[in-house]
Structure formats: C-alpha cells, structure tokens
Subunit: 205 residues, 4 copies
Amino acid sequence: MTNPLDTTSDHRPGGGYTARVRVQVRAELAERGYEGLTTEGVATRAEVHRAMVYRCWRDAGGLLIDVIDAAGEIDWQPPNTGLLRGNLTALNQEIQESPVVRPSLAVALMAASFHSERTARAQTRLWADWYARCEILVERAVGCGGLDARHTDARSLLIAATAPLHHQLVLLRADPDPRLPKRAAETAVLAAAAGAFTVHREESV
Amino acid sequence: MTNPLDTTSDHRPGGGYTARVRVQVRAELAERGYEGLTTEGVATRAEVHRAMVYRCWRDAGGLLIDVIDAAGEIDWQPPNTGLLRGNLTALNQEIQESPVVRPSLAVALMAASFHSERTARAQTRLWADWYARCEILVERAVGCGGLDARHTDARSLLIAATAPLHHQLVLLRADPDPRLPKRAAETAVLAAAAGAFTVHREESV
Amino acid sequence: MTNPLDTTSDHRPGGGYTARVRVQVRAELAERGYEGLTTEGVATRAEVHRAMVYRCWRDAGGLLIDVIDAAGEIDWQPPNTGLLRGNLTALNQEIQESPVVRPSLAVALMAASFHSERTARAQTRLWADWYARCEILVERAVGCGGLDARHTDARSLLIAATAPLHHQLVLLRADPDPRLPKRAAETAVLAAAAGAFTVHREESV
Amino acid sequence: MTNPLDTTSDHRPGGGYTARVRVQVRAELAERGYEGLTTEGVATRAEVHRAMVYRCWRDAGGLLIDVIDAAGEIDWQPPNTGLLRGNLTALNQEIQESPVVRPSLAVALMAASFHSERTARAQTRLWADWYARCEILVERAVGCGGLDARHTDARSLLIAATAPLHHQLVLLRADPDPRLPKRAAETAVLAAAAGAFTVHREESV
DNA sequence: GTTTAAGCGAGACGGTACGTCTTGTCTTGGC
DNA sequence: GCCAAGACAAGACGTACCGTCTCGCTTAAAC
C-alpha cells in the first residue's frame, strides 16, 4: 500500500524506491518461491541498501505483508459474461490459469501467508477483499431471477464454487484439470438451485 | 518406518532413534511451526547428533517428507455413523477440530508442503491417500441407495463436501464456524442428488 | 565555551545547548566508557537533535576533543601544603583517587585520546597544561631552599614523581596502592637531592 | 596462545588458520590502529570466513586478547650489557624505538587494552610478565655489588626507570627525546643509591 | 514592517560492522 | 561399519551506529 495510513509498515516514505522494492519482491517470489526470498536479494535487485529495507519494512515479514496487501489493491473485477454459471466458470478459469507457472507468485503468496501471524492476517484480508468483490456476481444473479428470490448467502455460494479449484491447485498441488472450472461452477449452481445457500431467518439469529 | 516408497533417505539403519527423531520433528512443528523447525532443535530434543539427522534424512526436507509420509500411515478410517450426510458432517467436524490449536501440526504440515517439490509431492500423496480412504463413504451411499444408481464421481463429491472446510481453515485462516461442517456436507449431498457428480459418457470424450 | 583555539567546530552559536551537550558527553563517558559513547546517546540525553551535534561538533571526535579541552579549563590548582615532598605526595594522592571508580571519566578520556590524531593532540595539550600548572610546586621548592640553588628541570622532576602513578593506574591497571603516592614522591625528591634533575651546561649543547 | 589450556578463547582448534589470523590482526592493528580493526577485515585478509573468527575468538575483544597474550610469548630477554645504569638505558632505548612508527602496534595494543575488562586484564598480564623478565637486571646489580646489599624492591626501581618513557610516549604522545632513556635510567639509579627502593622490614608487614 | 537568512528540529538515506543462527559437508576417533 | 563429536565454509538475519542530506519552521537582524 502506498497508503500513508497503512498501519502495517513503520514509515514508508515518499522515496521512489518503494515501488521498485515491491516489484523486486514479487519477482523474487515468482522466481525462487517464498523460501528463496531474502532481504539481501531484494535489496540488491532493487538497487537499494539492505539497511533501507529493514528501516522501511522492518523485516522479511514486512515485505511479504506489503506485497500481499498490494495484491489486493489492483483494480480487479470479476468477469461479467452473462449468467451466473458462466460467470463462475470464468472466475474459476482465471483461478486455474494464474498459478500455472511453477513456482508462481500465487503459490508463493500462499506459502508466505504461513510465515507469521501478521502475514496470515494480510492473507485473510486479501481473501476477504476478493470474496467481497465477487459477491456482485451472486447479487446480479439474484436480481435477474437466476436464483430463488429468497436471500442467498453469496459468500457460501462463492466458496462452494471456487474452493474445489483452490483445493486442487494449492493444497493438492494436482495438475490443472481443464474441466474442473466448469464442473465446480455447475455443482455450486445446482446446489444453489436446490436451496443449499438459502438463509433462513432462524439461522441468522 | 523404512517406508519402501521413500526415495529420500540414504540409509535408515536399525538404530532406535528413527522413531525418536520423528516424534521430535512433530513436536517441533507443533510447538514452533514450520519455520521454527531446525535440524539442531530436532537433534537436540531427540538426543541424537545433528550429523546423524543429515546422514539419515539427507536434509531438512527429508525430515519433513518423512513426517508427512508418516502422517499417512496411521490407521485412520473415516467415520461410519450411518447416512452419507451424517458421515460427511462427521468428517468435516474432524477436519475442523484438528487444527484448532495454533500453531498446529496440521497447519505446519501445510506450510511444510511448500518447502520444495519433494515435500509438495509428499503432501499430494497424503491427500490422495486420505481421499482414497474416504471414498468408501460414497460407495456405501451408492450401494445403500442413498444416491442415484448411476455412477457417481466419489472424489469430486468428497472434494465438494470438504473443500470449503479446508478453504476456511487453511487458506482463509478464519475462525472455525461450528455450523460449517454440517452445511458443507448438506450442500454436497444436495448437489449430488441433483446429479452434479454423475459421470456422463460424453464427458469422458 | 567557544574556545578560540578550537579548530574543530564549524560554528558554535549562542544556543544554550553547548554546555548541556558537554555535560552529557562526560556523563556518557563516565557511565559507559569511551566505546559506549554514541552521538545518539549524547543527543538524546541532552535533548538535542542528533543532527545538531554533527552541525556543531562535526563528528564523534569533535565531541571528545571538546570535552578533553574543557577538562583543561577548570580552575584547578596543585596542592600547596608546605614542603615539596608533601606537595608531590598530595598531588599523587589526587591522581590516585580520581579514577578509582571504573569506568571513570579519567580512564575514558585516556581511551578517547587514542581515537584519532586530533584527540591525541587534545590530550597532549591537556597534559602540557597540567604540568605547566604543577611546575609552581618545584619553583616554590627551589625558592624556599628546598632544592639545590642550581636550576632544576621542573618538568622532569614532576614526571619522575607522578609517572609511576599513572603507569600503575592507567597502563598496568593495577589496584591502587595506598603507599605509592608517598613513595613515588619521596623517590623523586631523593633523586632531585642527588642532582638528577639539575640542568648542566654541556647537556644543552 | 597456541596453548590448548588457554581459558581465554572458546575452542581454538588445530587448524592452520589460527596463526594466519593472528598475523592479520597484528597487521590491521599496525596499519589502521585499534579502531580500524574489524572482524571483517581480519577475516578477509586471513582468507577465513567471518563466522570462523567468531567461532574461535568469540568477538573483536577475543582477537585483541589473543594478540596481547601472544605478544607476551615471544622469547624476549632484557639487554645485558654490563652495569645496571647501562642496562636500564638500553631497556629504555628499546621502549623508545618500538612505537616510533605511527600508528604502531604498541600504541594500538594500549588503545585496545581499554576495550573491555578482559582486554585490560590481558594487558595487565603482559606488563606483569614484562616486569618479571626485567627484574633480573636489578637482581644482577644487587649481586654484583652495584647496589646496597640491603634488599631492593626491583619492581619499583624498574617502574621508576621506565615509567617516564611510557609516560612520554604513550600518554603524553610527545616526540621521542633521544636523551630521555639515559636520563630516566640515571635518575632511577641515583634514587636507588639514595635508598629509595630499599625494603624495610616494617613495611613488608 | 516586512523579508531574509541563520539556527535548529526532524528524519530519510546510504553505508559499515557487528554478532547470531542455520545449513550442509567433511574429518577424526572410539567401539 | 556405525556413529558421536565437532571443525568448517557459506550466507542470511536483524541491529546499531555513523555521517550526510534535504526539508521546513521560527526568529532575529537587515533593509
């Protein structure tokens, strides 16, 4: 975050090296993976003195948090190609394609999130933001009559639709299955049609 | 365990220290997390010389692989309490309870799986084994008429049922939701009833 | 003190902080010894910004020189209790008592004098001043008939009388010997009586 | 000390680098003075990894102690040219000549001795050893009738004879005076002849 | 009476050295 | 031959200082 209110970092001044460092952190993560990330490497690549990195990001964890947070700031929007089914499929395809290069930034960020409590929280923020952005897909579908008029738990639907993808790619580390994005989307839509994500009054108590 | 599949270790002689070391690796992982694991720490706790660890497990990755593999060798069986829905719920509850303490062994193993290609493969083996064991749940349900007689893709059903749990706990690092195990199980069963996991001929083309 | 001899400082304006800083330098030296002296510590204690210290004293060496020079400006006079023997003994006693606490300012100043050529010169100035002040002791003795009427090299006599003290305390770092001040004084007086410090014509050739 | 009993250092193995490192410490001290000594510089010059230096000498202080101690192990003997007066003069001349190069090892060792308690003790040991070796000069003189037959405090005599030299060179940092060695020796001998260093019974109580 | 320069607080910045901690290899010597 | 012991090379880590610099604010003197 270039955001000066950022409570994560300690001082992060206006110096032009901030962006430069961030780029190099991402590069190192993508090239060498989380464990290959070193303050030394980043500093050298960014042509900044190692001490500077410590001053501004405190330690290796700070770099990670910064990059994870920065990942949430790109102006991404979920696909909007029409129907819910298609949108979820497209979403899944995006997920599937992103970490196709090994080691990828996406996987490295996952690994990084295990580094410390703070990186874990950053990762949690990132996911929360991502799901918040995706909820519009579900809301659109409800509005267009694609779903039961009763209130649907968008977050659960989205998780049902996308979790299998993340599961396969990140946890199982299986090779991508080209049919999985569509299948998982359809499964979620079927379940939704069957009322699986309907919010009952008494449950919300 | 002198696991015959284990291509990692160079020799693993009869010394009684093998089990001792494994126990300590697990203890260190559970206590200090993946990043806190050091050969020194393990060796000291196991009262073995550090060189011994390198001789037998080659390097830190070897220790991790060994422990991940060992995790797949315990004689675990999925719950069998009756109906598919109940079984899946029970399964999810087990998942939810395991990593409740932070840092836990389960989470540490996840983190460890990002260490290298080899630990990733060990983790993949572990998941494969786990799903294989769980497939019996689905097969029983099909056999008992709980599901459509047409062939059901057990693996997909299981992933649909459990992925949301792993997603919440491991990736989102959210606080456990006591209702989630049941909900995710029900969602998967609803989807299954709607034919989401039915294998069609044309799909295999 | 805006010492006119001081070639060190670039400017030393009227701000009241000059004295404050000097006091803190002395305090730091006495408390933490020469190696423990930092511009940061001094600045903080003196409630002055670190940059101010650099502006006015140029660098750490400047602080040291300043303090060494300031040590020569206190209005000290050698003891005058009567006879040469007694005066020298009293002088030695003063020497012996000053650095009795370790680490002391006196020892820290000695250490500081090794810092650079410039601090060494400041230290030399300090000694020169000290001996100049002490020469009165010898001159009085000559005048009062306590010594041979021929001209006596006061400086040599003083060094002979006090060097053993400094040697023991500063170089040998031995524990103070309560009898040493008197003994060293007597030795010097005996040598003086034997003509050891008499200046002969032929020697000046 | 190559002495394996050495309680100063922590392990100091048989590796051939020990001597190499010591040589480089001395070289650095002589070239750059005490403050210019860095573990980094020494390690690089000795072609040893920096970590090795820390392993074997613990820290910068360890290096200093080692070198100070080593300085006491060279097989030096005081001059023996005949009479006490001449011997003391020769001794003083040796002192005067040693630190003639600035910065010299001798001065650097002095500065180093202020580094810590431990280096100070090493320096004290060095002086004690040096005086012990020099006492033979006085004993010879007493034996040959050069001095009063009553017992003479050799150490005090030696200090009286040499302290002015050290004082001038190390503390006052004055330029060497070519006549000083002889003068200081004569002064001490005169004082001795006058009974300045005679040990009285009651004093030794 | 402004304005303008110095004094000074604040802190970013580049840089050196420190001492610690791991990792993984290799050698030596006892059983 | 197993293995305890530990030396060794390598390199990252995070900290503490150092000394330089550029901003701005304020305040006293110059115009």
